[in-house]
Amino acid sequence: MNKTTNPRAWWFVVPMLALVAFNAFIPLMTVVNYAFQETFGDNVFFWEGVTWFEQVLRSDRFHAALGRQLLFTGMIIAIEVPLGIAVALAMPRKGPWVSVCLVLMALPLLIPWNVVGAMWNIFALPDIGLLGHALNSMGFDYNFTRQPVSAWMTTVVMDVWHWTSLIVLLCYAGLSSIPDAYYQAAHIDGASRWAVFRYIQLPKMKRVLTIAILLRFMDSFMIYTEPFVLTGGGPGNTTTFLSIDLVKIALGQFDLGPAAAMSLIYFLVVLLICWAFYTLMMRGEDQ
């Protein structure tokens, strides 16, 4: 759309800007303050320069948490995106069942995150939970509070359960904007199922898929509540992702300097990956 230049449009943005800036700038400056200084309480600060940053960037603990985080995010995106597309493609396109499917599928999205964690905790309890009991009586040795592999599997399946619907709903929205005429034309041309997907459905889903992947990346990189309630980061440190580690350092050990430095590095990593992805996808759209 051709937009007109209008400097007065700034006034429309001011209320929004004031609210977001209040919530973003002041806390961010607090974090920056802690990241470069040392404090022993009483609001007395000593300049530390980049010491905290060096300490965090060199620490094995940070590397391990970042590695687990990347592995987790990679795994859930690799499972949720194809699964979400497959379910969206198989959904009915008309009729009363559409609403039923959509409402049932959207349900996990609106459950508070700690309830999701608690629900899966109950569901997976080895002796009395539905999943844990079923797996154990089928002969698998399953106990997510003691075995790292079980804990990982449970966390990943929980995230797939929780968030795949977002991708389904977004893809379904993209698919439902395709006119029937396209499918009829493809049918007359004798196009294969794959060709229909590749040349009609996938291009229509591209924009919503970008949004879906971007949202999934951001949210899974910040994941805190669900794994915290489910496994508490354990057994050991095996499911301690970045946010959990950060809260442990900041509120558990009260090491504000390293925690603040880690926050900034963490934030920059998210920002960088999102920016790169966004730019790539937008360039693809322009062509």
């Binding site: 449009a9 009395i128 950060l246 920016w275």
Partner: protein
């Protein structure tokens, strides 16, 4: 296109989604003895005792009221300040507009864990700690960017001729905006409100950090019960089951917008 086997994939997927929810519901109708006694698929001694506790104990039901109050305040604030901003982004070019838009999105990317402690200090300093408005304002951090993003998409889908015709007919701006433009993008507002409601309702870390007694959300009541009174799984399950209801009601209202609305306007 109608294959009978096509039903299999969505049906299996929905069964997978419903199983943990069923587990939670079934547990909420069991007595503590039965839960700890071993696994049973259906409740053996069906009881409503857990729900009775929640509806009669103020620390429990106040949690629900608190959560709903701040979620509603947040949704109203987010959508009403996002509306004019999204209009500006979709219609006009102004100094720094693209940078501003990206900066907005970066706030959506800020991990709440990073902001928990500074938020606590900020809201304590201005005397809003443990109020509903504090949580509502804090959730604006990620909900306003999202609302602007969604509404901008919908507004860009409305042809500019609509605005121009209204001005030629002599409508002043605000009358046009409220009488004509807002009804045109009602679906977009519904979807934006849905997303704001959703993210504010499900968030716990900030809500828990900013409250202690008077505005404590239900989710925080649950975590504290879980740790303090040991193994009251039935009560926990009942409280969890009840948190699903507001979400289900909201989904029911927007069900007709979901298909088109989730495409965020510009597909």
């Amino acid at each position: 296109m109608t294959h009978p086997r096509k039903w299999l994939v969505p049906s299996l997927y929905i069964v997978f989604l419903m199983l943990p929810i069923y587990g939670l519901l079934a547990m909420s109708f069991k007595t503590t003895n039965e839960i700890l006694g071993g696994f049973s698929f259906f409740p053996q001694e069906f009881t409503l005792e857990n729900y009775k506790v929640i509806f009669t104990d103020p620390t429990w039901y106040n949690g629900y009221i608190n959560s709903i109050i701040y979620v509603v305040i947040n949704t109203v604030i987010s959508v009403s300040v996002a509306l004019p901003a999204a209009y500006a982004f979709s219609r006009y070019r102004f100094l720094g507009d693209k940078h501003l838009f990206f900066w907005l999105l970066t706030n959506r990317m800020a991990p709440p864990a990073v902001f928990a402690l500074p938020f606590f200090q900020l809201y304590s300093a201005i005397g809003l700690f443990d109020t509903h408005i504090a949580v509502a304002l804090a959730h604006c951090l990620f909900n306003i960017p999202l609302a602007v993003w969604i509404l901008e998409g919908f507004m860009s889908g409305v042809p500019k001729e609509l605005d121009e015709t209204a001005y030629l007919d002599g409508y002043p701006f605000w009358r046009f905006f409220i009488r004509i433009f807002i009804p045109t993008i009602a679906a977009g507002i519904g979807v934006a409100a849905f997303f704001c409601f959703m993210y504010s309702w499900v968030e716990l870390l900030l809500a828990k950090t900013l409250t202690s007694v008077d505005a404590k959300p239900i989710a925080a009541t649950m975590t504290r019960t879980a740790s303090s009174s040991g193994y009251e799984l039935g009560l926990l399950a009942a409280a969890g089951s009840l948190t699903i209801i507001p979400g289900a009601i909201v989904i029911y209202f927007v069900r007709n917008y979901i298909a088109k609305g989730f495409a965020l306007g510009r597909v």
